[in-house]
């Protein structure tokens, strides 16, 4: 496997693992994902 491909896979794995962990933590903290404000604030934080 090319070095860049393995880095790409590593990056994607880290990113999606992080998203899942954040999602689980958010659910445990009691976030209501039906509230669109959460996505707006998430987008703002990312920005």
């Amino acid at each position: 496997m090319k070095k860049s491909t393995s880095w790409l896979i590593t990056g994607l794995v880290f990113f999606f693992a992080g998203v899942i962990i954040c999602g689980v933590a958010s659910v445990l903290m009691g976030f209501d994902f039906t509230q669109m404000e959460i996505f707006a604030s998430g987008g703002f934080m990312l920005w």
């Binding site: 590593t10 990056g11 999606f16 998203v19 954040c22």
Partner: protein, 198 residues
Amino acid sequence: MKKEAFLNELRSRLSGLPQSDIEDRISFFGEMIDGRMEDGMSEEDAVAGMESVDAIVAQIMSEIPLTRLVQNRVKPKKGHGVLKIVLLICLFPVWFPLFVALAAVLFSLLVAAWAVIISFYITAGSLVIASLACIIATGAYFGIGRIIAGVGGVGAIFVCIGLSILFFLLSIAMTKGVVRLTRKMFIGLKKSFVGREA
């Protein structure tokens, strides 16, 4: 294709280069074909085994400096020198602004491309810093007993590291692309100085 036809094709594609360069190249490739024929290949096979004329011209273009091509191009030829100089001076108000505008457009495109690339590198760097900040924040959350928020922090660390890797990869790919594009632009510019005087 016969050796003579191959070399004539190459010569016509290289016209515009300094004559000494053309002769050097033609004799080099002629000797290469002769060497193959001495090894027992037929003339057609020896020529077929060579790189294409396009590939050879591109290779030569990348080796010869642009200044040398321009110097050779603007060198006055016998009989036309005075006329060319008069035309150049008379048409100066037309060709000079066009030349400057074209150069400015190409330069601004390159600057814009590099600005985007640099901003991607900076974004990747800032994500690395953000992941370090997340590590500190996560440690603090776990320290004060807010376990769930700490888990969220771990997720944020992963997201920041993942995004920084992806941004670095994207930046490297874009850098390579722009370098390749710049090289192609230069070779294209050099090619515009040769191959018209067959």
